[in-house]
């Protein structure tokens, strides 16, 4: 491990239920906007709870210029559009990215499972010969990363899609960090993307975890999540490269950690999450007392919130920093969730505020934290920790820092 470049975030692309593009997203976070509303992506007849957090008014053609639209499912349209936004936001052109080696890694829970669901509907109605060839040809989850390269015309890139469910965004950002830090690639475009999925809605519904109205993380009256959709993509590069080209630096990636509970397919494990936090802080060379804010996984289910808060408190004790759930605003955007939360954390550092946990009425005594209820607060943030936890006991925790010249 001889080479250790510092890695910074210099461009963001966002598609979310509370705003598209960095500026709208930052406004939404500051205003505590809610992305909740009735689901339109699929038929909810027969379900009593029918809300979700959808991206309204997405104009694929505005961002996707080269790859034919029918070649992309909605999730790949999201990843490609968010990636193009991110390089524009970074002040880069695709021409500048053609020569250097790069990594494009998008995390996802469901890939194009909405297309698979459509094929099943066709099968049920007309038998398997009736399945649509165009949709069948685009369901491979690897295309979420690959099509970014096709759209931008980038050949000298590695394009792994990371399918580690609801922590996949942090996995992808972590992978970008390792690849850029070692100098093996010059830049990375990383993040997460997922589209509304009937399968995911149904799965969470039958596990009894869908909220009747809105998500209320850490609230004594919480009733579950809303499934959501969206994408977050970011440009990662070495500090040297960012300084040389005079790029705006949103934040520095200080480190991350991955571990696995190896315990239960869906129930989170307190000790294992605590260990992941400790590994991440160690990787980032940060002491618990230096963390100013935690962006929690914070789904708004009792199983998650209580376990996650206990894990956090076991590491931070009485000094537990303010701990917010962006899913109160965005819903659970699956593979996009921790990527959007990474972007939100960096925007919080850049603009000096803490996004609130909205829909909050009364904090659960079993979640003794300051979740910054309902209204954003100004704050001077130097270090933010972003938690991503997934089914399968897959934990991924990222640590961001304000860029401050001298290395930590």
């Amino acid at each position: 491990m001889s080479v250790q470049h510092r890695v910074v975030l210099t461009g963001f692309g966002v598609l979310s239920s509370i705003g598209q593009g960095v500026a709208e997203f930052a406004d939404g976070l500051r205003l505590g906007r809610s992305g909740s509303g009735p689901i339109t992506a699929f038929d909810t007849a027969g379900f009593e709870r029918t809300n979700g957090c959808e991206v309204a008014g997405f104009e694929a053609a505005r961002w996707i210029q080269h790859v034919p639209a029918e070649q992309l499912g909605r999730a790949a349209q999201f990843s490609v559009a968010a990636a193009r936004m991110a390089i524009q936001d970074a002040g880069l052109t695709e021409d500048a990215l053609r020569e250097p080696l790069g990594l494009i890694s998008i995390g996802t829970t469901d890939g194009e499972s909405a297309d698979l669901e459509f094929l099943v509907e066709q099968d049920v109605r007309g038998g398997p010969w009736a399945m649509d060839r165009v949709r069948a040809a685009r369901v491979s989850a690897g295309r979420l990363s690959l099509e970014v390269a096709q759209e931008l015309g980038l050949s000298r890139v590695e394009v792994p899609t990371i399918g580690t469910a609801c922590a996949a965004g942090n996995y992808a950002v972590g992978y970008g960090f390792d690849a850029v830090r070692s100098g093996e690639v010059s830049y990375a475009i990383c993040g997460g993307a997922d589209a509304m999925s009937r399968k995911t809605f149904l799965g969470f519904y039958r596990l009894g975890t869908i909220s009747p109205d809105v998500p209320r993380p850490f609230d004594v009256g919480r009733e579950g999540i809303l499934t959501g959709e969206g994408a977050g993509a970011m440009v990662m590069e070495t500090l040297e490269s960012a300084l040389n080209r005079g790029a705006r630096i949103y934040a520095e990636v200080l480190g991350y950690a991955l571990n696995c509970d190896a315990h239960h397919p869906v129930a989170p494990d307190e000790a294992s999450i605590a260990r992941c936090i400790q590994l991440a802080l160690k990787d980032a060379n940060v002491k618990p007392s230096e963390v100013d804010l935690i962006s929690a996984h914070g789904t708004g289910t009792k199983a998650n919130d209580v376990t996650e808060v206990r894990a956090i408190r076991s590491v931070f004790g009485a000094d537990t920093p303010r701990t917010v759930s962006l899913k109160s605003m965005l819903g659970h955007t699956m593979g996009a969730a921790s990527a959007l939360a990474t972007i939100a954390s960096a925007l919080a550092i850049t603009h000096g505020f803490i996004p609130p946990t909205i829909n909050h009425r009364e904090t659960d005594p079993e979640c003794p934290i300051d979740c910054v209820p309902n209204i954003a607060v100004p704050a001077d943030l130097r270090i933010v920790q972003n938690n991503g936890l997934a089914f399968g006991g897959n934990n991924a925790i990222l640590v961001l820092g304000r860029y401050e010249g001298k290395p930590r």
Binding site: V120, V124, Q150, K199, D261, H263, F391, G392
Partner: protein, 367 residues
């Protein structure tokens, strides 16, 4: 030659196993590869009443409950059972065990078990109420279910990742695992891939292909990777992995530049290469480039794992297993270099260079 990543830690393969259409485990794989016996067979119309193919390459006699011999296989999809069983075999092969908390799992998939996803949705669409599905079946419809189950089954609490990259997924996963090790995030990574034959996958594949000559296959293969410093047996060293995108279908440039980049990272010429094999999709432009670049002897040194059918994400790992098996069966005095080139017709190429240590080489040292 040297590992192509500066001073970073050398990463080596210390054990492997495969559950393939040749049979369950390493020895049927070795025997099957040596004999080159075809493994495609007619599909039993009772078991597979409505699939678009009449033949496929299935793993013979793979019954999860019998192979895994434990409770908990009832809700497991076939792909997960293949992955869990293969990881178990590698753990048995591994002579120098590493603690579970230092052991990671990296599993390459195409979409996970598409049958699990489709079956769950189909049940909801056809039941009297859309809610009449078994909630216990929800988790297996998520892509990382198999990797998570591998961890649960064997108490592996290190990094656990699922990599989706179609037919290049196996090599993209290998590079992911290599970086976990060189960055010190794990001491051992069980790195492999799994794919199942199913109604759902057969129809998705059928509708997305024009060329049906390569029959569908299934199986799982897993390599145990460690930093050389850990001191385990060294079956092969991962010298370099390079990947390129065939922008707008330009596979010729993508394969040429990925292979050249691997050779450059290792400081070798095409003439130094003992074996070159391809796996995944068959693209004529790829074959043409490799035929022009390498000797006929190199192109024929290791059999193609295509004999196992189109095994999707597993194809790259099966091909690496074929290299390891061939090297084991025909030992050499000197080190040999093998390249495996994985091709995904969606537009990705990945190439790995392996060093197979010769019997006269001190196994801990690259020459």
């Amino acid at each position: 030659m040297t590992a192509g990543y500066g001073n970073s830690e050398r990463v080596v393969i210390t054990a492997w196993s495969a559950i393939s259409p040749f049979g369950i485990g390493r020895s049927p794989f070795l025997d099957g590869l040596r004999s080159g016996r075809p493994v495609d067979a007619p599909l039993d119309s009772g078991d597979w009443p409505q699939v678009p193919y009449s033949r496929a390459c299935l793993v013979p006699g793979f019954v999860p409950r019998e192979v895994l011999q434990r409770k908990g296989t009832r809700t497991m999809d076939r792909m997960t059972a293949l992955a869990v069983a293969t990881v178990g075999q590698v753990l048995q092969e591994d002579l120098a065990p590493v603690p579970g908390q230092d052991t990671g799992v990296v599993l390459a998939v195409t979409n996970g078990s598409v049958e699990s996803v489709m079956d769950f949705v189909r049940t909801s669409l056809t039941a009297r109420s859309p809610l009449h599905v078994n909630p216990g079946m929800a988790p297996r419809g998520v892509m990382n279910y198999a990797a998570g189950q591998c961890a649960i089954w064997y108490q592996l609490t290190g990094p656990n990742a699922t990599i989706a990259g179609g037919r290049t997924g196996g090599l993209l996963g290998l590079n992911y695992a290599r970086r976990l090790l060189t960055r010190g995030r794990a001491k051992r990574v069980l790195c492999g891939a799994a794919e199942e034959f199913s109604y759902g996958r057969s129809w998705v594949e059928f509708h997305s292909r024009d060329d049906h000559t390569l029959l569908l296959g299934e199986g799982a293969a897993v390599l145990s990777l460690e930093s050389a410093a850990t001191g385990g047996p060294e079956l092969a060293e991962i010298l370099a992995v390079e990947s390129r995108v065939a922008v707008s279908g330009d596979f010729a440039t993508a394969v040429d530049t990925s292979v050249e980049a691997v050779l450059a990272r290792c400081g070798i010429r095409p003439a130094d290469v003992w074996s070159v094999t391809t796996c995944g999709s068959r693209i004529p432009a790829v074959t043409d480039i490799l035929n022009a670049k390498f000797t006929p002897a190199a192109l024929a040194a290791v059999p193609s794992a295509d004999i196992l059918g189109d095994t999707g994400a597993v194809s790259g790992v099966f091909q690496i297993a074929a290299v390891l098996a061939t090297a084991e069966q025909s030992p050499a005095d000197l080190d040999r270099i093998a390249l495996v080139v994985a091709v995904e017709r969606d537009g990705t190429i990945a190439c790995v260079a392996l060093r197979l240590p010769g019997s006269s080489t001190d196994s801990g040292q690259a020459s």
